[in-house]
């Protein structure tokens, strides 16, 4: 799942080397924390959140094959 997120996001941003995905999990949820270069945050989110919505849809579809719930969170470095 981590690799899937990286593959998608790296193809969209100007600074692919700054794409970092970390994961944390509890009993029934795995949360992926996505962090990108600050100039790329807008690109990853997109107009009205269209891009992040599409990324999440694809990731959640892939995650539906395994038992745990998956959440994709975009880190805001401010």
């Amino acid at each position: 799942m981590k690799e899937l997120i990286e593959t998608i996001v790296q193809a969209l941003v100007e600074y692919p080397e700054d794409v970092v995905v970390t994961e944390s999990s509890n009993e029934n949820t795995i949360t992926y924390h996505l962090s990108v270069h600050k100039d790329d945050i807008g690109k990853v989110i997109g107009k009205q959140g269209r891009t992040i919505h599409a990324i999440r849809t694809v990731v959640y579809a892939a995650a539906s094959q395994q038992p745990k719930r998956v959440v994709l969170h975009v880190e805001d470095k401010g």
Partner: protein, 206 residues
């Protein structure tokens, strides 16, 4: 976009070096000669090296295809991708075992893959490139379903004399509905709200 600059004694050598750095053949790069260089007097005075820039030329549709291939693979799905290119439009037709997973509810996964592939293609293109992704003839089936739904809801609007609101739909699916009801008498259609929550209203004539 990948770009390198190379410096050598002659333009030819510099081009050679630049292409070697990009690791591509001449056809895949755009070469800009920054400085032709000078041999100089007796090869000592006023000698200047040649400088060239080489820029990788991408094929946007190929980049979108590569993207799609690796995303589907990382989703853990085996699929064949057939590509139909038509100028600035490209259609990718997916086939394989787990297409239901790639299509998703109301085609939302297919639409998301399409949006992302389109973003990738247009990063590498100066002109707008339109990408369609289809699987198991989903687009045609969906079109038929939407057109039928449109007629049914138009009936309802006329019968009740009240406006009928549809669920939010992507732009090209709304277009299908508008087109299906364009000739229909007794009602008109319009869209309300902002993307991605824009939806159609079928309104009976007063």
């Amino acid at each position: 976009m990948k770009e390198v600059t190379a410096t050598a004694q002659t333009v030819e050598e510099a081009v050679h070096l630049a292409l070697a750095q990009l690791n591509v053949s001449k056809e895949r790069a755009e070469i800009i000669v920054v400085d032709e260089g000078k041999k100089g007097f007796l090869g000592i005075f006023g000698a200047r090296p040649a400088i060239v820039k080489a820029k990788l030329i991408y094929n946007p549709i190929e980049e979108a295809e590569k993207f799609l291939k690796s995303v589907i693979e990382k989703m853990g799905i085996q699929a064949d991708i057939q590509k139909i290119e038509n100028g600035r439009n490209a259609e990718f037709i997916l086939s394989g075992e787990q297409m239901a997973l790639l299509i998703g509810k109301h085609g939302q996964t297919l639409n998301s893959l399409q949006l992302l592939a389109q973003l990738v293609a247009n990063r590498y293109s100066e002109h707008y490139i339109h990408i369609t992704i289809d699987a198991e003839n989903y687009r045609a089936r969906r079109k038929e379903t939407l057109a039928q739904l449109a007629q049914k809801l138009a009936d309802k609007a006329i019968k009740t004399g009240k406006e009928v609101k549809l669920e939010p739909l992507p732009a090209y699916e709304r277009k299908i509905i508008h087109a299906a009801l364009a000739e229909r008498k007794g009602i008109k259609t319009y869209s309300v709200g902002t993307e991605p929550h824009r939806y159609i209203v079928i309104s009976p004539d007063q």
